[in-house]
Amino acid sequence: MLSIKNLQVSVEGKPILKGLNLEVNPGEIHAIMGPNGSGKSTLAHVLSGREGYSVDAGSAQYKGLDLLEMAPEIRAREGMFLAFQYPIEIPGVNNTSFLKKALNEIRKHRGEEELDAIDFLSLIKKQMKLVEMKEELLKRPVNQGFSGGEKKRNEILQMAVLNPTLAILDETDSGLDIDALRIVAGGVNKLRSPNNSFVVITHYQRLLDYIVPDFVHVLSNGQIIKSGTKELALELEERGYDWLLEEAESKA
């Protein structure tokens, strides 16, 4: 599904990712944790094709394709989805028609027929139940005036409608109350299948009670310094990152 080898990325000459390796197979859920500023969002952005990053070395393959060569909209149409840490507001653009356009772009790319307004509405109504989002939000401009939690739910709604093969969730749990957290996690679990994969970036082991990961990685200073199973998250919760950082330093 996703194979990242020795990825080195810098921003304005400053190295951020310093030789990152990651293998994600179909059906797997990977959690990425790590201190603030360690490069988690940078990784998510580079994988989804945001400009402004320079890839200095390494490679990233997605479904056997050279990911880093593809335009961001092509990655999306190939089934890659990023739930943004900070979802963007698009004033005046209706949330529903935006999502319909997005879905139809993806369908067109796959050679499928575009959905008309009626079919789309029934799909979106169904998926809204999954994230228990207020219908009123569909009529509003994309994310404009949404509360922090509403924005995050809107991301998950989009994910549910677009049904990606690989979804990267960048701190989707931050800013959510306990109920919302359960709902969002429930949505992810319902979408989970042997054919798709999730990369879940989070600071809190709490989320991983609901979305149970197959692997947990710790990203620090641009490298994955430790990988393990869900028990690693529990240990981090208890002990923090310091012991890991020291361990990594003494190794180096």
Partner: protein
């Protein structure tokens, strides 16, 4: 959207150039004019230049009554004493008025029905996606098509005639309804009004005339398509719309022009008159050739549009979507003379490459309880310059006048400019005048967000811009709104790389 600034301003010049986010948003403005082609119709031309003789010839050619010839000549003599205004924020090489043709018309006489219309012309409409025959049936739109200076096709006349509605070329109205023309022409825009309007008064070629009788609600959108076709031919449209007491009309004006290398002058005049309880809605989609990406060629568009809310409870609403022309100089205005009358101005002005626009409105409050609303959305891309210039004037007798103005600017790329010049003259203390202005830019984040959902950059920019201008598009009749949004995307193609 970032960089939001709110200001209550009286008179300020704001020049915003963008500096960051250069990597993605650079101006790769390589969109050629999609509707660029030239129709091969034989033209009949008068000699170049302008003198009294030419004015007389134009009038004679149209079999105009004496009063019209005299009016034209007065305008001509006045124009000779005028100088071109220099106050707009526009830069262009001087127009050589002696080197222009002032009259051009298809050589054959005007056809009586579609069968008689030059097939070349019909093909032209086809290329524009405006098949006349279909339009006729489809949306119930009557089309008064103007190619160059003379109207060559008018439809739906019969149906409108039953209601007493007059919708015809103004040249025809001058011959067949001289009393109406004499009564209203020049009453809102006098021939002395300004350099371009004066020139237009002397040499206007053709345009539309609409009269809606008392109490009649015009059952269909009246529509005109304008094209400029002859090289070096100034286009001098003149439109006059009169809505008698208690009547209603919605009028659409849309234009595209063929690709040409030479600058072409356009100086149109539109006069609207709404009597007691009458309402006029005037919508424009303007997409004349804007010049190529180096700024060569394109239409010089100097337009005077003004409406008079003459009667009590009358209403005039202007909606404009301006995407074309190398230069746009245009201030559709309302004189709110009748008590309780309402004036509205909704505008989207988009400039790209080297286009320049200086546009806005004037709301002149004269009657009591008059209200006006201004919603202006400027969009600047490439190396273009876009200025909003608006005046809200409340006369001393205009008790309880109210105005709300919202003037927004959107910047695309880092080399375009946006400017706002709101002028306020309030002579009555009971007036309530509110002005808001914002400046924002299409951000890299917004484009990436849409990209990440599978939407291409070009579509993303089109969506963002349409969203930004939504309040204005909502004012347009449905099929026009769709066309206008498509035009946005076409005009901005390649403006973001």
């Amino acid at each position: 959207m970032i960089d939001k600034t709110n200001k209550t301003a009286s008179n300020n010049d704001e020049n915003i150039a963008m500096s960051d986010e250069q990597q993605t948003i650079q101006n790769i403005t390589d969109q050629d004019y999609k509707y660029g082609f030239v129709t091969d119709i034989e033209m009949e031309e008068f000699p170049k230049g302008l003198d009294e003789n030419i004015v007389r010839m134009i009038s004679a050619k149209k079999n105009e009554p004496e009063f019209m010839t005299e009016w034209r000549l007065k305008a001509y003599r006045h124009w000779r004493k005028q100088k071109e205004p220099k106050w707009p924020k526009l830069e262009y090489s001087e127009v050589d008025y002696e080197n222009l043709y002032y009259y051009a018309a298809p050589k054959k006489d005007g056809p009586k029905s579609l069968d008689e219309v030059d097939p070349e012309l019909l093909k032209t409409f086809d290329k524009l996606g405006v098949p006349l025959e279909e339009r006729e049936l489809l949306a119930g739109v009557a089309v008064d098509a103007v190619i160059d200076s003379v109207s060559v096709a008018t439809t739906f006349k019969g149906k409108l005639g039953e209601l007493g509605i007059i919708f015809c070329p103004i040249s025809e109205a001058i011959r067949e309804h001289p009393e109406l023309v004499k009564k209203y022409l020049g009453t809102v825009v006098p021939y002395t009004d300004n350099f371009y309007a004066t020139l237009n008064s002397a040499v206007f070629s053709d345009g539309s005339f609409v009269y809606i009788p008392p109490g009649v609600r015009c059952p269909m959108e009246l529509s005109s398509y304008f094209r400029i076709n002859a090289s070096k031919t100034g286009q001098f449209e003149r439109t006059l719309i009169v809505a008698d007491k208690g009547s209603y009309v919605s009028y659409l004006e849309g234009c595209t022009a063929p690709m040409r290398d030479e600058n072409q002058l356009h100086a149109a005049v539109v006069e609207l008159i709404a009597l007691d309880d009458a309402e006029i809605k005037y919508s424009t989609v303007q997409n004349w050739y804007a010049g190529n990406k180096e700024g060569v060629g394109g239409i010089f568009n100097f337009v005077t549009k003004r409406g008079l809310c003459g009667g009590k409870n009358s209403k005039i609403s202007w909606t404009q979507v301006e995407t074309g022309s190398a230069i746009t100089w245009k201030y559709p205005s309302c004189i709110l003379k009748g008590d309780n009358s309402v004036g509205e101005f909704y505008s989207v002005a988009l400039t790209n490459n080297y286009q320049q626009a200086d546009t806005g409105t004037k709301m002149i409050h004269q009657g009591r309880n008059t209200r006006s609303l201004i919603i202006s959305k400027g969009i600047s891309a490439g190396k273009s310059n876009n200025a909003y210039r608006g005046l809200v004037k409340v006369n001393s007798k205009a008790e309880n006048a109210r105005n709300y103005s919202q003037c927004d600017s959107l910047l695309i790329g880092d080399q375009s400019g946006a400017h706002t010049y709101p002028y306020l003259e309030v002579e009555n203390p009971t007036a309530q005048v509110e002005h808001e202005a914002t400046t924002s830019k299409v951000s890299e984040d917004q484009i990436f967000y849409l990209n990440q959902r599978g939407i291409s950059t070009e579509d993303a920019v089109g969506m963002i811009v349409s969203g930004y201008a939504r309040e204005v598009f909502q004012q347009l009749p449905m099929e026009f709104a769709v066309e206008a949004q498509a035009l946005m995307s076409v005009s901005l193609e390649g403006s973001v790389g």
